[in-house]
Amino acid sequence: MLYRENGQFKTSYAADQQIFPIAQDRIAIGLVLLVAFVVMPLAGSEYLFRAVLIPFMILALAALGLNILVGYCGQISLGTGAFMAVGAYAAYNFLVRIDGMPLIVAMLLGGLSATVVGVLFGIPSLRIKGLYLAVATLAAQFFTDWAFLRVSWFTNNSTSGSVSVAGLNVFGLPIESPVAKYLFCLTVVCVFALAAKNLTRSATGRQWMAIRDMDVAAAVIGIRPVYAKLTAFAVSSFIVGVAGVLWAFVHLGAWEPAAFSIDRSFQLLFMVIIGGLGSIMGAFFGAAFIVVLPIILDQVPHWFGIPLSTATTSHLVHMIFGALIVFFLIAEPHGLAKLWSIGKQKLRLWPFPH
């Protein structure tokens, strides 16, 4: 009743091509942004920022990057953690070794370094695909794990192997308090989400999807697989690299290679699949699901007053997690984003489905 588009005529190309063609969608997204930028910083508690919102934002950004590769271009990657690590360590080195390096520039340079590594490990994708590619990206994962642990140059010869950054600021504004960190992440995420959305609607994005749907056919109609696949790897690892910088600098502050282990890669892949392959919105749904679920599962026994040891809880979380993933794949292989769009379709006709 409230959500329908009749009466909303598009009278120009610009109106036809906007991201949210329905006025109600625009209002909804405006409200979400309002809540995110204004209400949350005023109302949120420190725990909410530290444990939920900041990890959610950063992982959503990483999932977004991965979704470009897996969801839009159909190239599976198990090395997302590695590209995050490359971004984080590269940005760290730029920040530490060059005096007066601004955070934003270091972050973008970190992203660019991740791009270079991503394209390098993406080269095998020109010959191989699917599971074979998964192993190639696994190679990236284990190689970077090792490199950042053993090659002391990357960690600026830190004796403990762990590195840290302090005194972050953007344009003179310190990023120390949880609210400031949150707002910084939120801004970066919004910028990249918009850029990614537009990129996927562009010629490049359509090339990726053509390659994903059938690469041989795409090549036949004149899409260069080399170009399409490598741009997907480049864009994806850039975003993932930036997410890595945020994760290390803003969320962790001090980190070691274990922060970007294979578990992180799997976690991000789960987000993309559960959220919905080939959907920008899906990355956010997936990240929300995977960040919030363990926290809830952690709390549930306490509500019922069942004392469980930490180990048992973590195993139970593992089990429920695994079961839910399987359940989701069976119930809705296209993820939460598909459920969302089904819901919207239903809503358009509600309450008179005729």
Binding site: T312, H315, L329
Partner: protein
């Protein structure tokens, strides 16, 4: 020279164990086209079951005989793996028929998370030992040929023999029995196999059971060597480069791939490791597989991948 040979033998033995895990991958991939990420979790689960039942059964029944306890534990653990295979088929795979490869891969990742959690909830999360009476003392051989002889772990030797026997048994099972023929038919073409009356569901249960059996054997051998602990399920990731090297669809490929990776890892660690600052065992296998993929994507014995529009 003696040192080189010792390293070589060490690598071969480690490689045999990788092959055992890789075998599970190949079996399931061949028969159902599912790339089973949960194989590592199955190895951990089977090993945990084996270790704990070998401890519990004598307590419950009140006897004290290592051999009987181990045998009973083996039977119980195997039964558990069959039940598991049946459940996986019933609850998961049969509902995901005709889905894309990536969906199935994700499903097995989910299963692997589930099994990791379940195994440690049921059986505890300490480090357990499996004692199946493997000889622990090292042996010297060829003392006449080399000065000082060659030091070889008897345990590794027994493990390698068991692996070889398992591979032989599986090869016979696949080639000579009716079920094995049915499995190969399903591997070739699901629809054709079904149309001549091969029950797909039952075949999948069998294949997952056989993979469970391979996981159990691998788990026992790894477990008695290193102790049963969570890291066991990570060893299984090493099986990925092995199957890539050998070819996803080839049983001999899994064996040879495992041996190459095992030997390559040990030799490179010793002879190249110092150039890189050590610890290159972690990634050597993957980078080797990566390099191999660029030259020969289908692996040593895999079927050539042909694209058609």
């Amino acid at each position: 020279m003696g040192f080189f040979l010792e390293t070589l033998f060490g690598g071969l033995m480690a490689g045999m164990l990788y092959s055992l895990i890789a075998l599970g991958f190949v079996l399931i991939y061949k028969a159902s086209g599912v790339f089973n990420f949960a194989q590592g979790a199955m190895v951990l689960f089977a090993a945990l079951a084996m270790a704990r039942f070998a401890e519990w059964i004598p307590k419950w029944l009140g006897f004290d005989n290592l051999v009987v306890a181990n045998l009973l534990a083996f039977v119980v653990a195997m039964a558990l793996m069959v039940v598991l295979a049946w459940l996986i088929e019933r609850l998961c795979l049969s509902r995901l028929v005709n889905q894309e490869g990536i969906t199935l891969l994700m499903a097995t990742l989910g299963i692997s998370y589930f099994l990791d959690g379940l195994g440690q909830t049921l059986f505890g999360n300490d480090i357990y030992s499996i004692n199946v009476g493997m000889p622990k003392d090292p042996a010297m051989i060829l003392e006449g040929t080399f000065e000082g002889g060659l030091l070889i772990s008897k345990e590794d030797l027994v493990a390698a023999l068991i692996s070889a026997a398992l591979v032989l048994a599986l090869a016979l099972f696949f080639q000579k029995t009716a079920t094995g023929r049915a499995l190969r038919a399903v591997a070739d073409d699901h629809q054709a196999a079904q149309s001549i009356g091969i029950p797909l569901n039952r075949i999948w249960v069998i294949v997952w059971s056989v993979a469970g059996f391979a996981a159990l054997v691998a788990g026992i051998i790894w477990g008695s060597k290193l102790g049963v602990q969570f890291s066991l399920s990570l060893v299984a990731l090493k099986a990925l480069p092995v199957v890539i090297l050998g070819g996803l669809t080839s049983v001999p490929g899994a064996i040879l791939g495992g041996l190459i990776i095992g030997v390559g890892e040990k030799l490179s660690e010793i002879y190249l490791g110092s150039f890189f600052g050590g610890g290159i065992e972690i990634w050597f296998a993957y980078v080797l597989a990566l390099g191999f993929l660029l030259v020969r994507p289908q692996g040593l014995f895999g079927e050539k991948i042909i694209d058609r529009v």
